[in-house]
Symmetry: C2
Subunit: 194 residues, 2 copies
């Protein structure tokens, strides 16, 4: 294998395409965000924290700063065009509040997209500023899933059929096949190695 250096080129892809929701100027607004992060693994009293990285110039940021609440919605492949559209137009210029049916969970200002297979509502826990981006770290409050996307009571990624995002060649991708089992498929090596 011959490897070549690309400089500081971000290659942490594919990532998951989401639609972030917030109330801005009294109305739901939406922005397409694939620069997301899983911060920790919730356990016991420790909640789950998730991050979204949003350029500080975006309209959505105003609402998250004001209300300290937001949602992360996971659109399906069937929602590809509308998801892409949400990322093309700013709520500053175009009223996106009627694009989707809106639900509310426990939080007053985290609008949820009712026809997405999955939505999460979050309270803003901390904001980290890096360059011109605000990284909003949210505490997950509740998760809503289409019952048709459950298998054995758990969200099924195949049924959700999410949009994966590649910013290297700039494409949307689907997920493929289940290929293995974490914390099991390495066990044969464990026996040899110890």
């Amino acid at each position: 294998m011959k490897r070549t250096a690309l400089g500081g080129k971000n290659a942490l892809y594919p990532s998951l395409t989401t639609i972030v929701g917030a109330d801005v100027d009294g109305k739901p607004n939406w922005i397409t965000i694939a620069h997301v992060g899983i911060m920790n693994h919730a356990s016991g009293d420790i909640p789950q924290y998730l991050s979204i990285g949003v350029h500080s110039s975006h309209y959505t940021n105003k609402g998250i700063r004001e209300h300290r609440e937001f949602s992360i919605n996971i659109p399906s492949q069937a929602m590809l065009a509308i998801t892409d559209y949400v990322g093309l137009v700013s709520g500053e210029k175009v009223d996106k509040s009627t694009l989707f049916p809106v639900e509310r969970g426990e939080l007053a200002h985290a609008p949820l997209i009712a026809n997405c297979p999955l939505s999460m509502e979050l309270k803003l826990h901390q904001t980290v500023t890096l360059g011109q981006h605000e990284i909003f770290i949210g505490e997950l409050v509740n998760t809503f899933v289409d019952e048709a996307c459950l298998t054995d009571g758990k969200p099924d990624v195949a049924k959700i059929d999410p949009l994966l995002f590649d910013f290297m060649k700039i494409d949307y991708w689907s997920i493929g096949q289940r290929t293995g089992k974490p914390w099991r498929d390495g066990k044969s090596l464990k026996k040899q190695g110890e």
Copy 2:
């Protein structure tokens, strides 16, 4: 669509499975991490920041705290078993330093896995503590890619063939098909809507 509430269940999946490298006690050590994040989008003088969330009890954390450098390596599907193994055993008990051929880039203490299709070396920029996890936010210094995984000079996710991770049903997944083009496929809606 009928949706049901799951409580604060993290559903930001699939995520990308990576192997994080650090020098610990004078030797390279590796840990499998799928709880990663993209913080911002680099532009001009602003570097790219990426995050990894690692429980503070892990052996790897010692090395990252000491040297403030680490790597993020992207294994292929062909490396599924060894990637899973790396996540099953602690460097505290098992010497993992000889599992992979090691390369170094610009940083002295960010060991890179030479036979991974892609590796990134990072300087620790900031650590955010959430619950019992340390979220290491790294500044990306350089990216190394297998030349066989390039198309038109860019890393090609299909050729990299990454391991996706689902913690809801606990499975590894492959990527599927290219399904669309960001900042293009929503444009037809843009014309209607404005």
